[in-house]
């Protein structure tokens, strides 16, 4: 458990560093930087180090804290392969008949030099929904009755998270690169929101991931990205019907030999529109009026049915 907290602390430190990295020259600057990379609320169990140099010596094989991190071995501007990408649409509207949506991430690899033949190019694409805190509870038998006993609170877990790749994720990506860019599903989860007082918190988060995968909120689609001639790629994502409103984040990573060589990120707005938006705003801005409206609606419907039925019987 200690190791886990340490791990989280390290991850938080790393994430902050990744943000500091200078943007690649080929990236469209505004959207990629508009979304903050880190909105983690560090819990008391895993305080983020104020100064990245203070980071606890890493357990995994992280690069030395002294070397400038957040950028791969080669400086970004001269990266031989860069990603140029786009989206089928940059907004999803939730209407009354909303029943999920398709989103297409597509793009190409831009390079000045011939395609390196020494290694295989892989592409990873992710879509991430707004994060929310979640309490995970475990039931235990006490006096013959099943009651909620232990609980773990995850400070921020994405409400939706999908990863699509060209090949099985664990084969193409280094674990420390994964921890740094938070790509695989477990790493997308942020710090625990309060001191963890259970023996094995990982069991809890694993159970949560399993449940979310079962309901389709979290998805890992190995091989769902198609890459043509090591240059053109596309990834189709199916957004489920139970979408939460907010700014979603799409990311694309180019991977060679387990290392991320370039990345792209853009926001995707998911918004309620029309009647949905009006009702939602009314419920939160004018709760009294909303409540009275609901009651009036109920009373009128009740009275209407009663009157209609009486008229029907009279005939």
């Amino acid at each position: 458990m200690r190791a886990l907290i340490l791990c989280l602390a390290v991850m938080l430190g790393q994430g902050a560093l990744a943000q500091d990295a200078p943007p690649s020259s080929s990236q469209p600057p505004a959207p990629a930087q508009a979304t903050p990379r880190q909105e983690a609320i560090p819990g008391p169990a895993a305080p983020a180090p104020a100064n990245p140099a203070d980071t606890v010596p890493p357990i995994m094989s992280f690069p030395s804290p002294v070397t400038p991190r957040g950028m791969p071995e080669a400086p970004r501007p001269e990266a031989p392969e860069q990603v140029v990408a786009g989206m089928s649409s940059d907004a999803v509207s939730i209407t009354t008949s909303f029943d999920g949506s398709e989103i297409l991430l597509y793009g190409a690899v831009k390079r000045e030099t011939p395609i390196p033949a020494s290694s295989l190019l892989q592409v990873i694409a992710t879509v991430e929904g707004p994060s929310r805190s979640v309490t995970i509870r475990k039931k235990e038998r006490r006096l013959g009755i099943w009651v909620n006993a232990e609980s773990v609170v995850v400070g921020a877990a994405p409400s939706f998270y999908a990863v699509a790749t060209t090949a099985p994720l664990r084969l193409i990506l280094d674990p420390d690169e994964d921890a740094r860019f938070r790509i695989s599903i477990p790493t997308a989860m942020r710090a625990f929101a309060r001191p963890v007082d259970v023996e094995n918190p990982v069991d809890f988060t694993e159970a949560m991931i399993e449940m979310r995968m079962a309901e389709g909120s979290y998805r890992l689609d190995d091989g769902a990205v198609t890459l043509v001639d090591d240059t053109l790629f596309r990834a189709d994502f199916r957004l489920p019907a139970n979408l939460v409103e907010g700014t979603y984040k799409t990311r694309i990573f180019l991977v060679r030999e387990g290392r991320i060589i370039d990345s792209y990120s853009a926001p995707l707005e998911v918004r309620k529109v029309g009647l949905e938006r009006w009702l939602y705003r009314l419920a939160f801005d004018q709760p009294l009026i909303y409540g009275l409206m609901s009651l009036l609606l109920a009373a009128v419907a009740g009275w209407g049915a009663s009157a209609a039925f009486r008229a029907l019987q009279r005939e």
């Binding site: 009354t96 309490t135 509870r137 009651l295 009373a299 009740g302 049915a305």
Partner: protein, 303 residues
């Protein structure tokens, strides 16, 4: 046909919801129960977040109760005086229930307390009703007269009042207490409380069954309206889209239920209601004692 619910933030099939409302409305019209004890668990089951299920369920109960009570008013089977006394108790109880609920939430385990009290209450009420109505049924079969029970200690209480529609001359204390208890339950479990009130009115207050249902619906209408408003204001958990779909099914069901109820004999009605109450009780008890499919559960937010 899928419909996206603006507050619950999930998409559900509109016809499932209408059907659900219809079944619950049918029971409401037949037995004078609001149906909250059925609709709330059913909404959990189709994936509506619990807080929204409770609040919206209350809103749906308002509609089906209004529909049902109007049918009863036409038939002159509502004791308004008794209903008002019960209602006063109910509103006080509802406020008390919210306080108790908050206290339990601070201590944790609110879910467990609610579940256990459901099992105990439904079990006791259901079996009492079943035994009593079976006995009454066999008595009428033998041709004997149903003798009204004597309520010695209840009649000894002060503050007596005449309830003409029910044909009772009774102290206001027992109906106030019954209303109060039901109000507490309503706030804590998100139910109208008809399934507790109907038997209490029959066996404790000795009201005639025909009057009981209309009067209970009258009280439920106002208590659930109060609950809905409280939920909408303090927690923003009423989903009006969900409510409308449930209501469309519910009001239709309630009318059919009232019609059927008028056709059935009082004892038969009571046996049916007892069986429904016992079935829900057994289901909830099984959830407590059997090993759950999934040991883990997710709740949004930090609790």
């Amino acid at each position: 046909m899928q419909i996206y619910l603006p507050i619950a933030e999930v998409a559900v099939n509109a016809f499932t919801l209408i059907g659900l409302g219809g079944i619950v409305g049918l029971m409401s019209g037949m037995f004078g129960v609001g149906g909250g004890f059925l609709i709330t668990p059913l909404l959990f089951f189709i994936g509506i977040p619990p807080a929204i299920a409770v609040a919206t369920g209350a809103n749906q109960v308002v509609a089906s109760s209004v529909s049902g009570v109007l049918g009863h008013v036409k038939r002159r089977t509502v004791d308004f005086r008794m209903g008002t006394v019960l209602l006063i108790g109910g509103l006080i109880g509802s406020a008390l229930g919210v306080a108790v609920f908050n206290l339990l939430q601070r201590l944790g385990q609110v879910e467990l307390v609610v579940q256990i009290s459901y099992v105990v209450m439904l079990g006791v009420v259901g079996s009492m009703m079943l035994v009593e109505s079976l006995r009454a049924l066999s008595r009428t079969r033998r041709g004997g007269r149903t003798t009204r029970r004597a309520h010695g200690w209840i009649h000894a209480l002060p503050f007596k009042m005449k309830f003409r529609t029910s044909g009772l001359y009774l102290s206001v204390i027992p109906p106030l207490v019954v209303g109060l208890l039901v109000g507490v339950l309503s706030a804590m479990m998100g139910v109208g409380g008809g399934f507790i009130m109907v038997p209490a009115m029959i066996y404790l207050l000795g009201m005639p069954t025909k009057v009981v249902i209309g009067t209970s619906l009258f009280q439920i209408t106002f208590v659930t309206a109060f609950t809905t408003l409280m939920h909408a204001i303090s927690y923003n958990t009423v989903d009006v889209m969900l409510a409308v779909l449930l209501i469309v099914g519910g009001v239709t069901g309630a009318q059919i239920g009232t019609y059927l109820g008028a056709r059935l004999r009082a004892e038969q009605l009571r046996i049916l209601l007892a069986l429904v109450v016992l079935a829900v009780c057994v289901k909830l008890a099984m959830d407590l004692f059997l090993t759950p499919d999934d040991l883990y559960s997710l709740t949004p937010g930090i609790v």
